[in-house]
Subunit: 384 residues, 2 copies
Amino acid sequence: MTAFRFTLHSTDGAARRGEFHTPHGVVQTPAFMPVGTQGTVKAALHRDLLDAGAEIILGNTYHLFLRPGDELIARRGGLHRFIGWERPILTDSGGFQIFSLAERRIIREEGAEFQSHLDGSRHLLTPERAVDIQARLGSDITMVLDECLSYPATRDVAAASMQRSIRWAQRCRARFAELPDALGPGVTNPGQAQFGIVQGGVFQDLRDESADATAAIGFEGYAIGGLSVGEPVEEMYAVTEQTARRLPADRPRYLMGAGSPEDLVESVARGIDMFDCVMPTRNARNGQLFTSEGRINIRNARYAEDDRPLDPACGCYTCRHHSRAYLRHLHLAGEMTAGALNTLHNLSFYLDTMRRIRDAIAFRTFDIFRQGFLRSASRLSLDS
Amino acid sequence: MTAFRFTLHSTDGAARRGEFHTPHGVVQTPAFMPVGTQGTVKAALHRDLLDAGAEIILGNTYHLFLRPGDELIARRGGLHRFIGWERPILTDSGGFQIFSLAERRIIREEGAEFQSHLDGSRHLLTPERAVDIQARLGSDITMVLDECLSYPATRDVAAASMQRSIRWAQRCRARFAELPDALGPGVTNPGQAQFGIVQGGVFQDLRDESADATAAIGFEGYAIGGLSVGEPVEEMYAVTEQTARRLPADRPRYLMGAGSPEDLVESVARGIDMFDCVMPTRNARNGQLFTSEGRINIRNARYAEDDRPLDPACGCYTCRHHSRAYLRHLHLAGEMTAGALNTLHNLSFYLDTMRRIRDAIAFRTFDIFRQGFLRSASRLSLDS
């Protein structure tokens, strides 16, 4: 059993190149984590993820707790064995889905009471229970339960919510320290790490207070939560920059839920090491593709007779074997293989972007890379 | 360019082991052809088909004619290049889909008039046009346009329909002989073969008459159409047996639309060389799996904590990596990866069954294989 360990290899400005070790292997940072909500990355088989260069995936505690249940997964030997993925897994705490998916939620000091979006059953997720569930899942990195905030929020609301998240983080860390004794054989991965989450909305003084208090508790890594929820991108970048700078330099920094390819590059430039986002997978299923020359909406009639691959610079299975014309046909015909092929490409684009980011930091050419990436058509649509 | 050629290697009773050559490669017979209706086998990437051992796939002329259109496909260099599949392809004539899918169809001597199920547009598919469309698609094996019969049908109706199908077959062959001069650069695969189709319902004298008349026209291969449409299985086997026996021994025999794994084994025993069926792919998406020990409905609660692979005797990606418990979870959660993994397994089961059939014929042990296969649980459900 390998305990969690983060090593910083090099920096280039605020950008950092490193790796972390988990019981299921090493992850190079900056890292992008494909989102495997229900124990699978939508439309992607595990071998597709490995081909695309994924070293870690994310699982959603809210979904897995409701179906098939953390206790059933623990009886299968934990989430890795249940889903047949042998590399690292990060699980969130369920807080964000209670906020965004569950019905009739009541947040009180004890925890978050909510109604399942699947069958209407009522549940109480306390900070302690969020830790226990993730212990049963046996993920490599677990997240504390935090309270998620609507955007926009007043300063008072943001402050009270942030304070509660800190109290919950303390309870999560206390419970985490009792593991595995507290749960006994239900704990399937004793080498787990636990990350704290900085909240505070777009109020930098609240972010600073949250960062300091969370760091004072002491976690294996630190996340920035509550961004990418509708605030202007400049605000997101500014909060990311100052908050990252305030967090311990010897621990990984994870910007939750971000983002577009440009967001990734811009956030690495501000000291972020880890990302997760549904954008590459969700957009793929909707026919929105990322390429080195710009974005493509494959429904566009201009691709009907386009024999080129999605991205001439891409070496993924989709680009090696199929044309835009064929992918457009599959998408319009509603074929599942459209979702699979598009997902494979978009994940390859994201993960290849991360590889190029890591190389650029190692060679201290990150700023050149960044300027080129943003100047390239990555913000532009090829459709018009 | 390789012209179509069929070679018989060995026989065991009525069962035949052989191969046919096409411009896109060799196919071992007896062969199962996965159905790629709209230019893709549903939920299966081409590499999955190759992994599973597919040597030929089927495309549907009706669907491809309506969307994206045979002329667009011809401009892409033909169906193989359009979809990125380099091995042989068989296309049907569109007749069966007009019969089963299209709306407001009017069948007259000239051809079949119908309304698209996609946009309501009206079209006339004549025998000549069915040949031209398939020439533009550039498939390796094309089928004549035939009239499909409802089951049950009176003898008079079946006879009249069969006679019309013979007249259409003559027109198809005449048109085929004019290619590629008639179409010029629109023909993308000049090495095409054309198969005739025997009709006649469940009336053996009509089947005999149809077989003789079709063989007299002279085709590269012969199909038996209009079975597997609701008639008792004994009737299907009886018609298959006598019709196959009456067809030229030096040409491949193709039983269209069949069938279950047992149907495949029983039809090979009656002299059939080629099959296509949506059963492995459609059932997979519905959670119905074929295994060497019997059939599995993955929704069944008994698999919720079953850590075994679908089929311990199967070496497919799904069985090597995933448990019944995980596949059940993915299916109930509505994940696209459930359809992909299940399809991969069912196709592997079908194609592996064909491989075992071929080996058994080569070793003259087909009858032992057949008895064992039918005795095995392949007819049984493991669910109850």
